[in-house]
């Protein structure tokens, strides 16, 4: 497979990587986590979510782990995903890149204060 959707890293994929930084999550868990960490601005639909997950799995930035039930959501077995070390590195590189832009923005006096 050729390298495809992850260069440059789309924000959906970046958010998914971030959402998995704390714990393993299933698809719906990722969706809710992303919504939470973006203040409700990004609600991933199933198509976008799983197409991003597929790309990330293919490139080994995340890995599928054993399926299990989520006690809070009933007895259906769910597929869980975990951040790999490569994924963590990618997320960090992306965060650095964004941080670099922030510095530029600050230097240009667009962004004030020491926020971030």
């Amino acid at each position: 497979m050729p390298k495809r959707k992850l260069d440059p890293l789309p924000s959906a994929a970046f958010q998914i990587l971030l959402s998995l930084a704390g714990e393993d999550l299933h698809g719906y868990g990722i969706m809710r986590q992303v919504a939470e960490q973006t203040g409700g601005r990004m609600r991933l639909g199933p198509g976008t979510l799983y197409s991003s997950i597929q790309s990330l799995v293919e490139e080994k930035f995340i890995a599928e782990v054993d399926a299990r039930e989520d006690a809070k959501l009933g007895h259906e077995r769910r597929r869980y995903y975990r951040l790999t070390s490569a994924g963590r590195k990618l997320a960090r590189a992306e965060a650095d890149r964004l941080a670099g832009w922030l510095r530029v923005a600050r230097a240009k006096k667009i962004l004030r204060g020491d926020y971030v």
Binding site: Y28, P46, S51, R78
Partner: protein, 485 residues
């Protein structure tokens, strides 16, 4: 319900995606639907889903295509053709079945269309035309045209009245059927092939309507012969089909054909014997010349049910009497629902009553000559300006179609009923030897109305009703028309 809708929408994704994540996507939908209740959250959920579909479906397909392009690039260099499909799952059996049925239907439709165009022989067989008088003695005929050109003979044939089989083998119903009907395949040798091709070329040059095309067809036949293309034809029927194809390839004339008959083709046009003629005359007298009904309907509407257009040499007085008895009518209904044609002369003779001046009378089978005008006005006739209605059915054929077509095109009659059967063209049949003969269209009549006549398509009625209801409808139309006057 909404889950089913979403499951259907999921099918928009490429199969590899559905297989990998279809269930998970559906599960996610269930979870959201479970958590987001109430009108507005539901609405937001669906808006999210639709936006998501709009963005992610094209992206998935784009990805699939890019993947194909990437993997196919090195193969293309190899020079061999390479096909890719967007769907990588195998076809469902149902899809294969419907595909197969559809293909068969398309093939059947196509072959029917081809047969329809090539129905020359059928028309030769049933359309009587080609009166002997038209055959110019100056023309060098290799063989005289066969028996089934005579008009009244075919009328009798249709009535099942004569034709001893020994003298009159059945005319070819259709080339393919006829050619393949030869059970005991006739042995073909080079000499026979030479004779048939020579005969075909001589006939084409003598009779074909366009000498330039005749020359081209002749050259093509000769070229195929010299190339040895004809040697493959194992028997008479295959050879006839092959020559037919060769001639049509060049001329694009579907009425040009070579015919093989297993039965011996009579070596000359059998002139009607006095005995046969007497039988015809008797049959016509018994049937009132097929003028089945002549009467005056209420509101003084004349009604004539005519089941053929018989030979004027036998039935002229009958026709004159019938037309005379309608002379005082205020409108005329011609019932041609059971009329399968006959002599063009009779068609023109009756049509003459409907005009007060000579009118160009189009006959697709006759060269345009001075005789192509009706002999109007008919002395003492009062029908020239009366409304005319013609009842048609799907069995109205040949000469009856000419009557209907011409009067419709001249806006002289209102056609009521069904689309007619569609037989216009004929050509002469030319015998080459005992087993081979060919059909050649010899006329190019001027059609003043349209570039096409009713061959193969029939004549469309002005008022479409079932044949059974045609009389009632025509009567009403006639009444209305008379009331307005």
């Amino acid at each position: 319900m909404s889950e089913k809708i979403y499951a259907l929408l999921l099918r928009l994704y490429p199969s590899h995606f559905r297989e990998a994540y279809g269930d998970a996507a559906l599960q996610l939908f269930r979870d959201r639907a479970h958590d987001e209740r109430g009108f507005f959250p539901k609405l937001r959920l669906w808006l999210d889903l639709l936006a998501d579909l709009a963005i992610s479906v094209p992206r998935e397909y784009r990805h699939v295509r890019q993947a194909f392009a990437a993997t196919s690039a090195p193969r293309r260099l190899a020079g061999a053709p390479w096909l890719f499909v967007l769907e990588d799952e195998s076809l469902r059996p149902r899809a294969l079945f419907f595909g197969g049925v559809l293909t068969l239907l398309a093939l059947a439709g196509f072959s029917m269309a081809i047969n329809h165009v090539g129905s020359y022989a059928a028309n030769v067989a049933v359309w009587p035309g080609q009166p002997a008088s038209r055959v110019s003695p100056a023309r060098p005929r290799v063989a005289k045209p066969s028996h089934f050109e005579s008009g009244w003979r075919s009328v009798l044939q249709r009535m099942g009245m004569f034709l001893p089989q020994a003298r009159h083998p059945k005319p070819p119903e259709r080339t393919a059927a006829m050619n393949s009907a030869a059970g005991e395949a006739m042995k073909l040798d080079a000499a026979e092939r030479q004779l048939v091709i020579d005969g075909a070329i001589a006939n084409l040059k003598a009779h074909y309507v366009d000498p330039n095309v005749a020359q081209k067809v002749a050259e093509a036949l000769r070229a195929h012969q010299n190339n040895g293309d004809d040697n493959a034809a194992a028997d008479g029927s295959a050879f006839a089909d092959l020559l037919t194809r060769q001639m049509r390839d060049v001329s694009h004339d579907m009425h040009l054909m070579m015919v093989y008959s297993q039965e011996k083709i009579p070596d000359r046009r059998p002139e009607p014997t006095p005995e046969e003629f007497a039988r015809y005359r008797k049959a016509m007298e018994q049937n009132n010349c097929t003028f089945e009904t002549v009467k005056i309907l209420p509101h003084n509407i004349g009604y004539l049910k005519l089941n053929s257009f018989p030979d004027p040499s036998v039935c002229q007085s009958g026709a004159t009497t019938a037309m005379a008895s309608l002379n005082q009518a205020d409108a005329v209904i011609f019932d041609l629902r059971d009329n399968s044609g006959g002599e063009p002369k009779m068609v023109a003779l009756i049509a003459a009553y409907l005009f007060d001046h000579p009118e160009y009378w189009f006959n697709p089978r006759e060269e345009t000559t001075r005789q192509s005008w009706t002999s109007s006005p008919v002395p003492g006739n009062k029908l020239a300006d009366k409304p005319v209605f013609i009842l048609t059915s799907s069995s109205t054929f040949s000469g009856a179609e000419q009557f209907s077509y011409d009067l419709k095109m001249l806006k002289r009659a209102t056609l009521v009923g069904e689309t007619t059967r569609g037989g216009a063209h004929a050509g002469a049949f030319h015998r080459i030897d005992d087993h081979f003969g060919m059909g050649i269209p010899e006329t190019r009549a001027i059609n003043p109305f349209s570039t096409v006549d009713w061959e193969g398509v029939g004549v469309e009625p002005d008022v479409k009703v079932k044949a059974a209801d045609a009389l009632q409808t025509a009567e009403k139309l006639a009444e209305n028309k008379l009331r307005k006057k």
